[in-house]
C-alpha cells in the first residue's frame, strides 16, 4: 500500500489530528489485506494439526492425500529444506512436528492444492498414527513437581526471575494476602492469519504477509528454507489487527516451502477456528501476593509468586516473565520486595505476546491487593494509591530510578474528581446489565465504582538491541517536491503511516517549498533495514525517532547544498542536484539485563502510566455486569495525533474490559473448548461504554518529541478497575478474571468481605 497525503506542514505535522491516509482505501473496501491477495495461478495451502496436546507420532502416511486430484504437494518435517526449528528468542519450535506433538493444534503436515476445499480435504486424508501420552497441563506441577514429565528441551522452566530488595520483615501492622488468577486471553484480531508466497526466478521466494515485524520473520524463515536472507523477501500486506498475535510465525514458512516445492504461488488463509490454534495467546497466570503496610497504609513490603503458563514453546515467555517481575509491585514505592516470577512449559497452547504482556497479569494482582489493603486500613482506594504512588525520582523494584515525569498521585486525584455518571433508574431495558435479554426489572442491580493503576515498560527491555531504520528521500516528481518515507515498520491499525508522514512534515517544514510537499509513506518491506516490531508500544518512539533522524539528515544535506548555491530554493536545488536521500538507524538509550538473582538493573527504557476508573452495574441475582462508564487519565508525554491516540486508549481499554468480564480461551486437559466467536466473546459495541479521557503531556526528555508509548498502558489498568467495581457492587472477593456470571450469581452465600 502506498499512502500519500497532501497539505501544509503545520496542519499536518506532529500533534495535528491528521486523518489516516489509508482510511480512504479502508472505507471503500480496496485496502488489500493479506487475505485478499490473489494470483491467477496460485494454489491454496492447508495445515494438518495435532488433535492431541501430547503424543508420539508413530507414522505419517501422506499417500491418500497425494492421490487426490488437484493436490500438488503434501509436506512433512522431512521436507523442510533447512533448519527444522524456529523461534523468536530461542529456536525450539519445529516447522512441522518431528516424531511428537506438544500441543493441540501443532502443525504436522501441509498441503497445496488448486482449491481451498481440496486442500482441506487432502489434509484430512493424511493418516497420522499417534500414541497419546500424559499431557502436562498444570504449570505449578510442571515447575515444582520433580516427577512431572518434561515438555521443554531442558525441563519445564522457561525462566525464573527473582526480585530481591531490602529485607522482607516477618510481618507488618497490616497484612493482606491474596491468590489471583488470569485466564488465557486471545488477541482475536478480526483478520485471521494469511499470506501469499510467490516463488522467485532467482530460486528465492517473496512473501506478502500480515505481520508485526518483517525482519524477524525473515530471520526465522530463511534458515528454515535453507536460503540466504536476501532470497527471502517480505512485503507487508494489509494487517487486520495484531495485538501481539502476529509477532510469532504462523503460516510463513509453510507457504514458502510449498511455493518453492510446487513452483507456484501459494496462499494460506486460516479460518477463525484455526486462528485460535494458529497463534500464541496471553499467558494465563496464577499469582500469590502478600502486602505488608503500616496502619496508615504505607507499604512496608510486597511478597509475590507469579506463575505464567507459557505452553508448549518458548516464544516470548522470557520477556513476559521479565516484565511481570520488574513491574510486579506496580507503580508504588516499596522498600522491601521479594518476588519470584516463573514461566513454565506445559502442553497447553503456546503463549507469547499480547498487548501489555507480563505487566497485565501482575497489574491485575497488585491492584486487587491495593484494594484489599485499602479496606484493611480503612482507606479510600484512591487514597491508598496516592500514599504509595511513585513520582519522578522514585526507585522501581529493579532499582531503576524513574527519570522522567511520573505524576501518578496527581493523575489519581484528577481521575477521582471527574464527575460520575448518573444512576440508572431508567425503565429502559437496554440500560440494565444484560440489555434487552434482561428477564427482571432490575431489582438485583447494584452499582459499583473501582480504580486501577498500571505501569508499562515501553520499547524492548533488558539489553535488547532495539532499533529502527528509516530512509527518507526528497525529490522532484512532476516538477513538484516530494518526500518519500520508507521503513519496514508494520502498520497494524495503530496509525503509524499517519505519524511517519506527520513527522516528515514537521521536520522538513522549515524548507519553505517542502512544507506543502506531498509526503508518501512507501509500502513496508525488507528492502530497507529492520524497523523492529510493532509491539511494546514502541513504533512511535523508535521508528518515529528513525524517521525524524533521517529527515534531519536530509535537511542538513539540503542546507549544505543551499550554502553552496545561495539563492536557490529547495525545488531549484533538487532540480539542479537531483534527489537527496538519507537512511538512518535510531536506537533508544541502552537497557541492561536484570540481575538473575536480585532482579536489579536499569532494564527499561521508558515507563508509562495509565489510571482507570470503572463504574459498573451488576445484577447480583443473574450475575450480569454492565460497564456504565470508563474514565482514564494517561500521560503520553506528547500527543502526536489526537484521534489515533484516543483510538488506542479506547481499544486498549476495550481489550482490558474483555479480560475482566468476557474473554477466556477455556482449556481442559490441554484441549481448547471454545475456538469460535460464539463461545469466545469479545466486547461488542454494547459492551464498551462511553469513555471520559484526560490525556497529559509531561514530556520524557529522552524520547523523540518527549513522547511516551501509548498503546498498551490502558490495557493494564482497565481490567483491575472493572474487577474492583464489580467487587464493590457485589461484595464478593472475585479473585479471578474473567469474572463469569456464575462467579457472581452462584457465589457462596457468605460474601468474602
Amino acid at each position: 500500500m502506498t499512502q500519500t497525503a497532501r497539505g501544509t506542514g503545520s496542519d499536518l505535522g506532529v500533534g495535528a489530528g491528521v486523518p489516516r491516509p489509508d482510511g480512504l482505501l479502508k472505507v471503500t473496501g480496496e485496502f488489500a489485506y493479506s487475505s485478499d491477495l490473489y494470483l491467477a495461478d496460485m494454489l491454496w495451502g492447508a495445515t494438518l494439526r495435532s488433535p492431541h496436546p501430547s503424543a508420539w507420532i508413530r507414522a505419517v502416511d501422506v499417500g491418500p492425500a497425494l492421490a487426490m486430484p488437484g493436490v500438488h504437494a503434501v509436506l512433512t518435517h522431512e521436507d523442510v529444506p533447512g533448519e527444522r526449528f524456529y523461534g523468536l528468542e530461542h529456536k525450539d519450535q519445529p516447522v512441522l512436528a518431528i516424531d511428537q506433538v506438544r500441543y493441540q493444534g501443532e502443525p504436522v503436515a501441509i498441503v497445496a492444492a488448486d482449491h481451498p476445499e481440496t486442500a482441506r480435504r487432502a489434509a484430512d486424508a493424511i493418516v497420522v498414527t499417534y500414541e497419546p501420552r500424559e499431557a502436562v497441563t498444570d504449570p505449578r506441577r510442571a515447575l515444582f513437581d520433580p516427577g512431572c514429565p518434561k515438555v521443554g528441551p531442558e525441563g519445564n522452566l522457561v525462566r525464573h526471575q527473582p526480585v530481591r530488595v531490602g529485607t522482607v520483615p516477618p510481618t507488618a501492622e497490616v497484612v493482606v494476602t491474596g491468590e489471583y488468577e488470569v485466564g488465557m486471553q486471545d488477541q482475536a484480531f478480526l483478520g485471521p492469519e494469511s499470506g501469499l508466497a510467490v516463488p522467485a526466478e532467482d530460486g528465492g521466494v517473496e512473501l506478502f504477509v500480515a505481520t508485526q515485524w518483517l525482519h524477524v520473520d525473515q530471520d526465522q524463515i530463511a534458515p528454515c528454507l535453507g536460503l540466504p536472507k536476501d532470497k527471502v523477501r517480505l512485503a507487508l500486506a494489509g494487517v487486520g489487527g495484531a495485538f501481539g498475535a502476529r509477532e510469532d510465525l504462523s503460516m510463513q514458512v509453510h507457504a514458502c516451502m510449498l511455493a518453492l516445492r510446487t513452483g507456484r504461488p501459494v496462499k494460506f488463509v486460516y479460518g477463525r477456528e484455526e486462528s485460535f490454534f494458529g497463534h500464541v495467546h496471553r499467558h494465563p497466570a496464577r499469582m500469590r501476593y502478600e502486602h505488608g503496610a503500616t496502619r496508615e497504609g504505607r507499604l512496608v513490603y510486597v511478597k509475590a509468586e507469579i506463575v505464567l503458563d507459557g505452553g508448549a514453546y518458548r516464544s516470548s515467555s522470557p520477556a513476559v516473565v521479565g516484565n511481570a517481575a520488574s513491574l510486579g509491585v506496580g507503580p508504588y514505592e516499596v522498600d522491601n520486595i521479594h518476588i519470584d516470577a516463573y514461566g513454565a512449559y506445559t502442553n497447553n497452547p503456546p503463549c507469547g505476546a499480547m498487548r501489555g504482556f507480563g505487566a497485565v497479569q501482575a497489574c491485575y494482582a497488585y491492584e486487587s491487593q491495593m484494594d484489599r489493603l485499602a479496606e484493611a486500613c480503612g482507606l479510600d482506594p484512591v487514597e491508598i494509591r496516592v500514599r504509595n504512588a511513585v513520582s519522578q525520582g522514585s526507585r522501581m523494584a529493579t532499582g531503576q530510578v524513574i527519570d522522567s515525569p511520573a505524576p501518578l498521585a496527581g493523575m489519581l486525584r484528577e481521575l477521582a474528581a471527574m464527575p460520575l455518571p448518573g444512576s440508572s433508574c431508567s425503565p429502559d431495558l437496554r440500560a440494565l446489565p444484560g440489555g434487552v435479554a434482561q428477564t427482571t426489572h432490575g431489582e438485583g442491580v447494584r452499582r459499583g465504582v473501582g480504580y486501577g493503576v498500571g505501569i508499562k515498560n515501553i520499547c524492548f527491555s533488558e539489553g535488547f538491541d532495539d532499533y529502527s531504520t528509516a530512509r527518507v528521500r526528497v525529490e522532484l516528481l512532476g516538477d513538484e517536491p516530494h518526500i518519500l518515507v520508507h521503513t519496514a515498520a508494520a502498520e497494524v491499525g495503530q496509525g503509524l503511516v499517519t505519524v511517519q508522514a506527520q513527522i516528515a512534515r514537521t521536520e522538513l517544514a522549515e524548507l519553505a517549498d517542502l512544507g506543502a510537499a506531498r509526503v508518501t509513506v512507501a509500502p513496508a518491506d525488507t528492502s530497507v533495514g529492520s524497523a523492529g516490531s510493532s509491539s511494546a508500544s514502541r513504533q512511535s518512539y523508535v521508528t518515529g525517532g528513525a524517521v525524524r533522524a533521517a529527515c534531519v539528515a536530509v535537511r542538513e544535506r539540503l542546507a549544505a547544498l543551499r550554502a553552496e548555491h545561495p539563492g536557490l530554493g529547495p525545488a531549484e536545488l533538487l532540480r539542479a542536484h537531483g534527489p537527496v536521500e538519507e537512511t538512518r538507524e535510531y536506537r533508544h538509550r541502552p537497557t541492561h539485563p536484570m540481575d538473575p538473582l536480585t532482579g536489579q538493573g536499569d532494564s527499561h527504557v521508558q515507563l508509562a502510566l495509565c489510571v482507570h476508573r470503572a463504574v459498573v452495574d451488576v445484577d447480583v441475582d443473574l450475575g450480569l455486569v454492565k460497564v456504565v462508564e470508563l474514565a482514564a487519565v494517561q500521560d503520553v508525554g506528547k500527543i502526536l495525533n489526537p484521534p489515533a491516540l484516543e483510538g488506542q486508549i479506547h481499544g486498549g481499554s476495550a481489550q482490558g474490559l474483555g479480560l475482566a468480564l468476557m474473554e477466556e480461551i477455556q482449556v481442559r486437559d490441554g484441549r481448547v473448548l471454545n475456538p469460535s466467536f460464539t463461545d469466545y466473546l469479545i466486547p461488542t459495541i454494547l459492551d464498551m461504554p462511553p469513555m471520559r479521557l484526560s490525556i497529559l503531556e509531561n514530556p520524557d526528555p529522552a524520547a523523540p518529541y518527549g513522547l511516551r508509548g501509548a498503546g498498551e498502558p490502558p490495557t493494564l489498568s482497565s481490567t483491575p478497575a472493572i474487577a474492583a467495581a464489580v467487587r464493590a457492587a457485589s461484595g464478593l472477593a472475585l479473585p479471578r478474571v474473567p469474572i463469569r456470571p456464575q462467579d457472581i450469581a452462584l457465589a457462596p452465600a457468605a460474601p468474602a468481605r
Binding site: P19, V27, G29, D36, L190, G191, G493, S653, A654, F677
Partner: protein, 154 residues
C-alpha cells in the same frame, strides 16, 4: 446457473449449492472488499445488502440470491469515486484502526440509518451490535453514523 446483480452489474454463475455468497463474492468475483472474520455469522465483517436489507454473506447461500440484488462495499461510493457521506464520516471520525471490520460496519451502518434506528446513540449501538470491532473503534463508529443520520431525537 444462478443469475443475480452485484452492485448493479449482472452476474450469471454456476454455483455449488453449498457455496456461500461470501465465497462467491471473494473467490469467484474477486470482490475482496467484503471481509471474512469468522464464516459463521458471529462477527458481521461480511455484511452486504440483499435487496436493500443487510445480511451476513457467510451465512447466505449463493443459490439463494437468484434474481436478487446484492450490494457490497465496492458499490457504495459513486461511479466517479465520490465517497458516500457515511464513508466520509468514517474517515472524519477515525472510526477504524486496522479497518478489517470497516466494510461490514459501513454496510450495517447504511442499513441502520435506512431502517431508522438512529433515534439516539443507544439505539445506534443496539442495531450495530452484530458488527464486532476488535480494535475498539466503537466510539468513532457511533459518531460517524450519527453524523450522517443527523442529530439525535430529543
Amino acid at each position: 446457473m444462478t443469475a443475480f446483480e452485484v452492485n448493479g452489474r449482472k452476474v450469471d454463475l454456476e454455483v455449488d449449492p453449498r457455496e456461500s455468497l461470501l465465497a462467491v463474492l471473494q473467490d469467484r468475483l474477486h470482490l475482496y472488499g467484503t471481509k471474512k472474520g469468522c464464516d459463521h455469522g458471529q462477527c458481521g465483517a461480511c455484511t452486504v445488502h440483499l435487496d436493500g436489507r443487510r445480511v451476513v454473506s457467510c451465512l447466505t447461500l449463493a443459490s439463494q440470491v437468484e434474481g436478487r440484488e446484492v450490494r457490497t462495499i465496492e458499490g457504495v461510493a459513486g461511479e466517479d469515486g465520490t465517497l458516500h457521506p457515511l464513508q466520509r464520516a468514517f474517515i472524519d471520525n477515525d472510526a477504524m484502526q486496522c479497518g478489517y471490520c470497516t466494510p461490514g460496519q459501513i454496510m450495517s451502518g447504511l442499513a441502520c440509518i435506512a431502517e431508522g434506528h438512529t433515534g439516539d446513540d443507544d439505539e445506534i449501538r443496539e442495531y450495530m451490535s452484530g458488527n464486532l470491532c476488535r480494535c475498539g473503534a466503537y466510539v468513532g463508529i457511533v459518531a460517524a453514523i450519527r453524523q450522517v443520520a443527523g442529530p439525535a431525537e430529543a
